[in-house]
Homo-oligomer: 354 residues x 2
Amino acid sequence: MSVIGVLRETAAGERRVALTPDVARRLSDRGVKVLVETGAGRMSFFDDAAYTAAVVVTRDEIYAGSDVLLCVRRPDDLAAARPGQILVGLLGLDPNGLNGVTAISLDRLPRTLSRAQAMDALTSQANVAGYKAALIAAEACPGFFPMLMTAAGTTRPAQVLVLGAGVAGLQAIATARRLGDQVTGYDVRDAARADIASTGAAVLDVAAPSAEAAGGYARDLTEDEAGAQSQGLAAAIPRFDVVITTAKVPGAPAPLLVPAAALAAMRPGSVVIDLAAGNVAGSVAGARTLTGNEVTVIGAPDLASTVPVAASTAYARNLLALLTHLMPHGEPQLDLDDEITRAVLLSDREGARP
Amino acid sequence: MSVIGVLRETAAGERRVALTPDVARRLSDRGVKVLVETGAGRMSFFDDAAYTAAVVVTRDEIYAGSDVLLCVRRPDDLAAARPGQILVGLLGLDPNGLNGVTAISLDRLPRTLSRAQAMDALTSQANVAGYKAALIAAEACPGFFPMLMTAAGTTRPAQVLVLGAGVAGLQAIATARRLGDQVTGYDVRDAARADIASTGAAVLDVAAPSAEAAGGYARDLTEDEAGAQSQGLAAAIPRFDVVITTAKVPGAPAPLLVPAAALAAMRPGSVVIDLAAGNVAGSVAGARTLTGNEVTVIGAPDLASTVPVAASTAYARNLLALLTHLMPHGEPQLDLDDEITRAVLLSDREGARP
């Protein structure tokens, strides 16, 4: 019988857990033995006693007794792992520093493949982050999001601009619209612009060409394209009460979409939230800063972790789908002829995979 | 020409301002001279330069030169006011300590009178508070508010209970429903129960009689009634992910609706927000505390001030309506035969009014 071990997260501020009690039970029902490290679910409000289908043990016992280790983010003590032991998580794209474990990184999942969708942790976590971004924006906004009609008059709805319409951006748009504000979206990709329109939000037109790359991601813009985009955005941004930025380019720094000049032209009390850690001039990850003209800038690259029950629940389901794929008969079988398995294998005992 | 002076608020943490630039202009257009204290609008993101229809002066000049003083909460330096000077604000119900000013308290407005609705600052501010309470609850909740369907499965919507269905409670219900959760409301008054049902929310039935008092407020419950209510609520509360309490009784302490035993029976990760400062065992005004079973308790009696643009805008409109009533020809005329004027006059040069 295979043994799956759930590690407590070691990254600072990380509140998620890789496996929920519900998914632990489902794995157990399939004949897998599940070990859970003491306190692993605590920050997600799943206490040890909730894992009734698992055995709660120490971290050393997890490392010693598991065939497969589960985590959200890369553990900081991988020296304790055995070479060849399988480690599954959002391990990033860097094959180094993995100490000979067989590393399965959900950051490498082929996201456009429909049979991989149930395993897509980047999507599920971005969904949580986009939702939370809209809530934080509403909470930080000194005015109402919705239009409210009262005996003393009507308030206008907030004007919200969402830059980057991937999963996080679209969920931010949907949540802001639920709250009743007027939302405008922008993306460099034509397909994403169509997604914005499908939510009912307005699409900002800055007269820049579509810039789509492989895998549905955005590509880096040329200098001319970036210039046209900058001018268009800078002219549009000051109209808005709230700007939420979610624009990432894989393998490259996040593009600067809200430069200092655009911030300086915004109205006092406006709110800007940077989910990409780099889209907004002067944003600091995890901090709120106030510009000289009283615009609140919130750097928020790790929002999924701040809604830990929703994020962990979705993540555990992604893992269940992936483990079902990797362990069709209850034992790990890494079939490198399979498109998904080949893609997610970040490194193995011999080092990095191509 | 009458002179109206807008005081900067002195209460700690108070971010509202009594008059917005827009309403200052409207008063000015009616031939009233408006003085605004330096920095009065700053915490509401209205800087001095925005008050283009007013004269920005020092606090001393406001006290010296105004016929009517406007504030949100009672100033802490009323010794600077002249006896007979008119002071308008949410001055509370206590006629003492007003130093001989003619005090017009919006806390005494007859709220069931339809011609007074445009002046009803308690309503407009409770509306803001209820909206913000739902946002804070969503932000503090470790799960999603809405039901979200994804490739990896569906999340159930949060279950929210709102206790007390006055203006704040109804707006909290409306906002939580906008966010997509399942809301249940409760109130001791039959009329308020009908209001809950009209929003589409469920009505909690704890088999307690209706307890309505004059002015649409709730009355104090008898000991038997309170006992039946306590039992019913204590049995219901643990089912919910979020509880928002807004139950106040004028002139009496807020009733305890969520006792320690009910808190202890809630699931870890649940969130309880106390807008009445006294509905929830152990709630501390302005603070978040975590119970032993990891329930987040948020004491939030002053939420309107945390959405200062929305709150000040609504408040200023209320003042405009009241001032139009009190100064029909541009000069203050306190007609004590008028039902509204008689009600809001808290005290005058001779002391408390009946």
